[in-house]
């Protein structure tokens, strides 16, 4: 069914070769990831749900203090965690795009940015499923109501997308010259995740460490996303625009870096 939907979208695209190309590679990429085994798309749902369950269990049963007086803690966790996983996936996969798509770069003159874009879009498709799973859980288990605030959601997702893409493009350039960046990266991601307020608000931390949280752009993004998805309250426009500009900046920087420094990719990868 999903295959058909994706195919239908590709038929409806305007006849612009660049769109078509980016979409086709994204579609094929997505298919490759989820249709190659029997459970297929099920994994796309299962993985985030299981992760949320584990963290939820830890913070509600083992470390009660953390989740005390946070209303709807399950959703609080779920909403931010899928966003974080989306960012992580986009940037981690972007890092290896040039290696993965070497077969195309070698054979046909191709704009590298297109490859990155289609990689991001294929992750975005997966993320949409996660959001859908979230909505189902929120509506059925938590009786959450959504309002027009939902209109902000695309902007916030776009912000995440820009950040992930930009960061991923920078990573992929570093990856060409230093391939063991992989190991360092996981530690970096851990650091960012724990200071981004995925698990608890920054106010819960002792004052000394709070600046660590405040310089993390994800803190604001997650806060706004929760305002839209969990608490149905107005979002902080100021923080949103600030974060959006950061995202845009990272994205532009990424494109610049890729255009300037990846010409050695074929030799080193």
């Amino acid at each position: 069914m999903i295959k058909e939907i994706l195919n239908q979208i590709s038929e409806k695209l305007p006849e612009n070769n660049r769109f078509e190309r980016i979409w086709k590679i994204a579609q094929v990429d997505f298919k490759k990831r989820y249709y190659n085994d029997r459970l297929g798309l099920f994994w796309a749902f299962l993985n985030p749900v299981m992760q949320v369950l584990v963290y939820w269990a830890v913070f509600t049963f083992l470390m009660k203090r953390v989740s005390e007086d946070i209303p709807n803690f399950g959703l609080f966790l779920f909403s931010a965690l899928i966003c974080w996983m989306f960012f992580k996936e986009v940037s981690k996969k972007s890092m290896k795009v040039l290696k993965q798509k070497k077969y195309l770069i070698e054979n046909i003159k191709v704009d590298k940015i297109d490859l990155f874009l289609s990689n991001g879009i294929s992750s975005l498709i997966g993320f949409c499923f996660n959001i859908f799973a979230y909505a189902v859980v929120a509506l059925i288990l938590f009786n959450t109501s959504f309002s027009l605030n939902l209109l902000y959601l695309p902007i916030l997702i776009c912000n995440l997308f820009l950040m992930g893409m930009g960061f991923g493009m920078i990573l992929s350039t570093i990856y060409i010259y230093a391939r063991d960046i992989d190991h360092l990266l996981d530690i970096f991601f851990l650091l960012v995740m724990w200071t981004s307020g995925v698990f608890f608000p920054a106010e819960r931390v002792i004052e000394f460490w709070r600046p660590m949280f405040y310089i993390n752009p994800f803190l604001g993004i997650f806060k706004n996303i929760r305002a839209v998805l969990v608490y149905d309250s107005t979002i902080n426009i100021q923080i949103m625009s600030l974060n959006f500009s950061v995202g845009l900046l990272v994205f532009i920087l990424g494109i610049h870096v890729v255009n300037k420094y990846t010409h050695k990719a074929l030799e080193y990868l």
Partner: protein
């Protein structure tokens, strides 16, 4: 290279890797509609030259590459993602080259019939035999409107007799259509058969450039000399 290796290099006494200049001082003009051959021994820089023509590698110094038109390179085992089906590979390759889906759809049946893969349209390419992969790639290149085709050691053993005949015909037709073709090959008969002009690359430099007969003759002589030595 990894960070660890870089650090090791930094602290070891012999602190520079010897760099090999793959190519230097290469000046070539290949005009539209020409079938151009490149010969040279293993490691002489032929494939690097193709990479530079493709602009997938940027030369360190100077080296301005100007090409007009869409390009595809044919080489063994390249250009095809083994995890995708034949159909997907055709669409990905076609759209990256610059064709619209509509156009690819029109060409699709031709490509499949020419490659003789009628029963395998939705089979992942990893289950194909080597010959089938090669036929698929060749067929894409022949039917998709690229102005420039680079053949990197592609000839020799492409498919069975029947396909050889077919590919020979298709290839001649493509030449007649006025597409530019650059052939890199160790098989001198093939170069002699198709190419009017040939460049001989030796240790990263153009050793000689000119009409096929003269260049190939001196190339053969060079081999004979090194043999007798």
């Amino acid at each position: 290279m990894t960070i660890r290796e870089r650090l090791q290099l930094l602290f070891s006494k012999k602190n520079s890797q010897s760099e090999l200049k793959a190519l230097s001082n290469v000046n070539l003009t290949i005009s539209k509609g020409e079938t151009f051959g490149i010969v040279g021994r293993n490691g002489s820089g032929k494939s690097t030259l193709l990479n530079i023509i493709m602009e997938s590698i940027r030369p360190d110094k100077g080296g301005i590459v100007k090409t007009k038109g869409k390009m595809i390179r044919l080489a063994l085992g390249m250009g095809i993602d083994p995890n995708l089906t034949a159909r997907e590979n055709i669409y990905v390759n076609g759209s990256v080259i610059g064709l619209s889906f509509k156009r690819i759809g029109e060409k699709f049946d031709q490509i499949i019939t020419f490659a003789g893969l009628e029963g395998f349209v939705d089979t992942p390419v990893k289950f194909f035999s080597k010959g089938m992969k090669q036929r698929l790639l060749f067929s894409i290149a022949m039917h998709v409107e690229t102005e420039i085709i680079l053949l990197d050691e592609f000839f020799g053993g492409v498919g069975d007799q029947d396909f050889k005949r077919k590919s020979d015909e298709a290839f001649k037709k493509v030449i007649m259509e006025g597409r530019t073709i650059i052939i890199v090959s160790h098989s001198l008969p093939i170069i002699a058969k198709y190419c009017k002009r040939v460049a001989w690359i030796h240790h990263g430099r153009v050793r000689s450039l000119g009409p096929a007969e003269t260049v190939l003759k001196s190339y053969r002589n060079h081999f004979k000399k090194t043999k007798t030595k």
